[in-house]
């Protein structure tokens, strides 16, 4: 009996607060927008039959007709993909150096990578406003060393969004790659050199393939949340950067069009399902390989 209780409490909690809300998002995405509270029709009060017959795909058709949404989805995917590649380029050398560091340093380095993760996300993004703005620290610095004569416009451009995403998500890239590289047996590299590889060849032929799972995991851990990101494009991207998380937020709060916002959410979810499934499969494969 205790077992039943143990299972059912978290189970029902998630059913009520996770699954049911999702069902509602689906349902409302198929409803019509009305000027009422709540601002959609039909509602449950009118009975199941009325509910089912009045649902339609109008909102989804609307999303295809207005090219704002298409552009937002495409732009989100592009920004997330570019940021992921940049994060990999920044994170891999750090993870590699950490794995090569003397053993007594590694715990400290680990902590230094994780520490920013515990500090507020919002503050970390905010810190970049002062750096990237026209009269910000970066421009002051570049001006000071004489590299530029005109201030660079970085804030409120996609570049600022890339920087923000790389900065906030790089620990997610470093940790899985570090885990893979740390497990890498050093004698494999020596064996490759012994068999005639130069350092670079050994890195390319042995280190990279053997840290592949870490790289894949890191890329998904960055790409998936970056795709639905809202705070970074809002603070750093300005009005010129289109990302779907921001569109959803605005649709909901500014336009109060709940059915369209729900439809946007449903499609975002559909886009995310592919990378999520791929990620799960990669994790599973690695778990099996470990056994």
């Amino acid at each position: 009996m205790r077992r039943a209780l143990l299972i059912s409490v978290p189970y029902f909690w998630l059913l009520v607060l996770f699954l049911v809300p999702f069902a509602m998002v689906f349902k409302i995405s198929l409803s019509d927008s009305v000027l009422a509270i709540p601002p959609y029709a039909p509602t449950m009060k009118e009975g199941i039959w009325a509910l089912l017959t009045q649902l339609d795909f109008e909102n989804f058709t609307f999303l295809t007709t207005d090219d704002l949404y298409w552009k937002a989805y495409l732009s989100s995917v592009r920004i997330a993909a570019i940021s992921t590649v940049l994060t990999l380029a920044v994170g891999y050398p750090v993870a590699y150096a950490m794995a090569r560091a003397p053993e007594e340093w590694r715990a400290t380095l680990m902590m230094l990578v994780i520490l920013p993760f515990w500090t507020s996300f919002l503050i970390r993004v905010y810190a970049w406003i002062g750096i990237l703005s026209t009269e910000g620290f970066l421009n002051q610095f570049l001006f000071g060393i004489g590299l530029i004569s005109e201030p660079l416009t970085i804030l409120n451009t996609p570049t600022a969004v890339y920087i923000g995403i790389v900065y906030t998500y790089v620990p997610f890239m470093i940790l899985p790659i570090y885990a893979a590289l740390e497990r890498l047996d050093g004698s494999l590299i020596e064996a490759a050199e012994d068999l005639g590889c130069s350092r670079l060849q050994a890195f390319w032929l042995v280190t990279i393939p053997l840290s592949k799972n870490g790289i894949i995991a890191g890329c998904f851990l960055v790409f998936i949340p970056a795709l639905g990101e809202f705070v970074i494009p809002s603070l750093l991207g300005g009005s010129s950067t289109l990302m779907i998380g921001k569109v959803l937020f605005e649709e909901f709060f500014s336009n109060r069009d709940w059915p369209v916002a729900s439809a946007v959410a449903v499609i975002l979810l559909l886009i995310l399902i592919v990378p999520i499934i791929l990620f799960q499969r990669n994790e599973q494969k690695q778990a099996e390989a470990d056994q």
Binding site: D185, S187, L188, E190, A191, A192, E193, D194, L195, G196, C197, S198, Q201, L205, V206, P209, L210, K212, A289
Partner: protein, 373 residues
């Protein structure tokens, strides 16, 4: 003409393949190799034997190119190899962990080194097939390292390191990960392959039985120095120090003082009641402290006092039955213990002696080796 015995080290006209000339290697304050000089000849199966931390792995890593000597020179085929990176040396290594690339198949592992030499595809394939055949791995060519057994992995590692036909093959504890039965079979396979390919092998091991079985010569090392280099027989029968005698096989050490007693004969006062008579070509002065090392199988155990150069009485303290052999631990009235070994040549014979039986242990004057340190 009778077949000549393979012993290039006794031939002054032979030039060694590898020479260590006063090599010292330090890691910070730690001296891993201490002023070491050694020659290894072509086609030798040379064993570096010693406890962990004696410097044997460092010597091997210097040969492979992963470490460079702090002082002194190492030459391979007459050329100084200091500073030549591992990928430019005609030396290959079989790693203790095998270091098989887990993401590549057996075939690709063996082909890995060949591909680095920019050989044609066909040449690589031919050589890989040859190596697979040599190590009897044809059936497993398409498998990944985790899909084959430990013994098969060991053979892949061997095939991979032999594929480039190196002048010198280094084997770092090659059989350490195998169980005893498999290890014995593999030892003979290794010797066979060494003979077939004519490659010079240098093996590092801490297992004295393994070194004795496979090697043409054994170097016994301790704390960065070589204590003795000789053939397995010479090492066993004529150790040059107590350390070597004790490290290789089982031994009784009787310590005392020597007293000359005729030509190349000495009497040793070892506190065992009687003086022990021992032959030694090495001179000892009167009263010089010495150690008499005698292998247990050279000591006889009898119920009655035998006619022998040396005989002492004691009682059986313990018996270790090993199947083919039995070792008797005989306690002397002075409190010392002597080990005597007898072969169990007959099946289920009644044991002649049991615990607490009074017995005589005896040995001849030439049974032991007289050592000064």
């Amino acid at each position: 003409m009778a077949e000549t015995v393979f012993a290039p080290w006794d031939d002054p006209n032979e030039t060694p393949l590898i020479t260590f000339q006063n090599v010292t290697k330090r890691f910070g304050d730690f001296v891993a190799i201490d002023d070491l000089t050694l020659d290894i000849f072509e086609r030798e199966f040379f064993a570096l034997l010693g406890p962990s931390g004696c410097g044997k792995t460092t010597m091997m890593r210097m040969l492979a190119g992963f470490e460079n000597p702090t002082e002194g020179a190492i030459s391979l085929a007459g050329k100084d190899i200091a500073g030549v990176p591992p990928n430019k040396r005609a030396v290959n290594m079989m790693f203790q962990s095998y270091a098989l690339f887990p993401h590549l198949t057996v075939w690709d592992n063996i082909a890995f080194g060949l591909k680095r030499d920019n050989l044609s595809k066909d040449a690589v394939a031919t050589r890989v097939e040859e190596m697979l055949k040599l190590t009897r791995l044809q059936k497993f060519a398409r498998r990944k390292p985790h899909q084959i057994s430990g013994g098969q992995r060991q053979r892949v590692a061997l095939a991979r390191s032999l594929a480039k036909a190196p002048k010198l093959l280094l084997l770092d504890e090659p059989l350490g990960a195998l169980d005893k039965k498999l290890r014995q079979d593999t030892q003979f396979e290794l010797m066979d392959i060494q003979e077939k390919t004519g490659t010079t092998f240098v093996i590092v091991t801490h297992d004295q039985e393994e070194a004795m079985t496979v090697a043409s010569r054994v170097a016994v090392m301790d704390e960065g120095r070589i204590i003795q280099v000789a053939t397995p027989e010479r090492i066993y029968e004529g150790p040059n120090s107590v350390y070597v005698a004790d490290f290789i096989g089982d031994v009784n050490i009787l310590s005392g003082t020597a007293k000359p007693f005729g030509r190349e004969m000495y009497q040793v006062d070892w506190g065992g009641g009687t003086l022990a008579t021992a032959a030694s070509a090495k001179p000892f002065s009167d009263g010089q402290s010495c150690h008499l090392a005698i292998r247990p199988e050279k000591i006889s155990i009898t119920a009655d006092r035998p006619e022998a150069d040396n005989a002492v009485q004691g009682k059986v303290l313990d018996i270790a039955y090993l199947g083919n052999l039995s070792t008797y631990y005989v306690e002397l009235p002075t409190g010392q213990t002597i080990k005597a070994q007898t072969a169990n040549t007959r099946r289920i014979s009644r044991r002649t002696f049991t615990w607490e039986d009074p017995v005589w242990v005896s040995w001849t004057a030439t049974a032991g080796v007289l050592l000064d340190s």
